[in-house]
């Protein structure tokens, strides 16, 4: 029997597959399609202290083997997530969910995490210090070790849940940022968020996206994500949630060999809503093909 179980800072997952924040809403669009309890967990839509409408449209562009989004963290705000989304989710998802939190100041991150700390349904907090889609927003934290350190400390001070810091790939060297999060007390690292990208419409001769730039993700970014997960695994002794361009069971195995304990799947859910259950169903076959009996055993195996 193939053993798919993995553990993230004490949170036991039946399998390492986690739909990535922003591509799975708060779960119910997918709960209408399949039993989402087959998932290891899922990371809900990036949530901020206050409600946000997000950026003007167009927010989406296509790229070769990927896409660009500039949603701008549209969300109903943490209080409504707690009073409305989580209770609704409870009816269709009986596992712990990952709370993805965004913000614009150290205090805001801390306040938001303090609110969610009391929620039993939340197994882990993923602090997004890396969203490229918000002007003057969190990317300034995400690309500065001091910023990452400040946010991590502030969040750790208000919650007893494991805190995973989600890093931006839009830096020259990812290692000092992961190290800053680790030194500040993070329980794990999530990476990568989207790469800053752009498309230009030949008809209008202007950027496709209203915000001009946006976050590039999808299959095209898999090699960049693998490289960064590999580097961070080498440098920091913390569990890693690896993501970026994963769309098949093979990609999952590759990501785990690079050093990921669990794997998030993002853009793939948007083009194939059944992508995650398919990956989970395919994993045992792929494991058998490559002589793997337990996924736990292959974490960081490429080093």
């Amino acid at each position: 029997m193939a053993d798919l179980k993995v553990t993230l800072s004490g949170l036991e997952l039946d399998n390492p597959i986690i739909p990535a924040s922003g591509t799975f809403g708060y779960g119910y669009e997918f709960a209408e399609l399949y039993d989402i309890n087959v998932l290891g967990s899922f990371s809900f839509k990036g949530t901020t202290l206050e409600p946000r409408f997000g950026n003007p449209t167009p927010r989406i562009a296509e790229t070769p083997s990927g896409m660009i989004n500039a949603v701008g963290m549209q969300n109903p705000g943490i209080d409504r997530v707690i009073t409305e989304e989580l209770p609704r989710l409870k009816r269709c998802f009986h596992k712990k969910v990952i709370a993805n939190i965004g913000g614009f100041s150290v205090d805001e991150y801390a306040e938001c995490c303090a609110h969610i700390d009391k929620e039993d349904q939340v197994g882990l907090i993923e602090v997004n210090v890396s969203c490229p889609n918000v002007h003057n927003g969190c990317m300034s934290f995400g690309t500065d070790p001091l910023g990452i350190s400040a946010v991590t400390k502030a969040v750790k001070a208000v919650t007893s849940k494991p805190v995973y810091v989600k890093l931006s790939p839009n830096v020259t060297d990812i290692v000092p940022l992961a190290a800053a999060a680790a030194e500040a007390g993070a329980d794990g690292i999530s990476l990568i968020n989207t790469l800053l990208g752009m498309r230009i419409d030949l008809r209008t001769k202007k950027p496709v996206i209203a915000n001009k730039m946006g976050g590039f993700s999808g299959s095209a970014i898999l090699p960049v994500a693998l490289r960064m997960v590999y580097q961070v695994y080498e440098a920091v002794k913390l569990p890693i949630i690896g993501m970026g361009g994963v769309s098949t069971a093979r990609d999952v195995v590759e990501m785990m060999l690079a050093g990921a304990t669990a794997v998030e799947v993002g853009a793939a859910n948007l083009v194939d809503p059944w992508a995650c259950p398919k990956i989970i169903a395919d994993l045992p076959g792929v494991m058998a093909q490559y002589g793997i009996t337990s996924l736990k055993d292959i974490i960081g195996g490429a080093h």
Partner: protein
């Protein structure tokens, strides 16, 4: 929503760059006029949202215009080839609201979803008037098909080569019970101004990441807050939308 594989059973050009495609496959997820499907094209990452023009138990008809690489690839596909699509997407037109003499206004590739709407309204005993707006004579499609259904049809062309000269708003009848529309935003805006005081529903277009409500890529601001064009729409009550007029 359902995912299915659809076989092209008919593929015909209607104008220089507008094509009709009839696909056979599972249509059970389609429940109301104004819904759309998301078509996956080999070699392209995102699916293409295309309105459902008409459907029955076994087939679905779409009409699309070649505007970019994806629709260009579609136009090259042959009878017998297959497409992967998500169907039953979106909240369509509410036919209950029509009254006796509804007005249907379509502009360019906004025309297709009005076809099944007209058919449904006629089957319910309503007397729809359909205004179809195009730029010029050689861009006109489906006027005869709407007439064949039994609807009263008015064609407008910007250059006046056929029908009423000008925009759809130059051809509005004096009396109508409700207005349904799909077309480019400038047309919808003009129509909104011209039909204030009567009820109506407009179908919007937006670039989409998923088409089924998961990514927030397609949001539109409404008087009731942010809404998703793909899931809460594409059809909205026109009064709910925020119009910068």
């Amino acid at each position: 929503m359902k995912q299915g594989i659809y076989t092209i059973v008919e593929h015909t050009p209607l104008t220089r760059d507008v094509y009709r495609m009839v696909l056979s496959g599972d249509t059970s997820a389609m429940t109301m006029p104004g819904q759309f499907m998301e078509i996956s094209l080999p070699g392209f990452f995102l699916r293409r949202p295309i309105s459902i023009c008409d459907y029955d138990e076994k087939t679905v008809t779409i009409i699309y215009k070649v505007v970019g690489q994806g629709t260009d690839a579609m136009a090259r596909m042959k009878k017998g080839e297959t497409l992967d699509a998500l169907t039953g997407l979106g909240h369509g037109f509410d036919v209950e609201k029509s009254g006796d003499e509804p007005l249907l206004v379509g502009g360019g590739v906004g025309v297709p979803p009005l076809y099944n709407l007209a058919k449904t309204l006629l089957a319910a005993g309503r007397k729809p008037t359909v205004i179809l707006g195009f730029n010029k004579a050689d861009e006109i499609f489906y006027a005869r098909e709407f007439e064949a259904l039994g609807a009263r049809v008015i064609v407008t062309t910007v250059d006046g080569s056929v029908g009423v000269k000008g925009f759809v708003t130059n051809a509005l009848p004096e009396r109508f019970s409700y207005v349904y529309s799909c077309g480019p935003m400038p047309m919808l805006r003009a129509l909104y101004r011209a039909t204030q005081g009567s009820g109506g529903q407009f179908s919007l277009e937006e670039r989409m990441g998923c088409g089924f409500g998961a990514c927030m890529g397609c949001s539109v601001m409404t008087k009731e807050g942010g809404r998703r064009v793909c899931k809460d729409g594409p059809v909205f009550d026109k009064e709910v939308l925020e119009w910068q007029i």
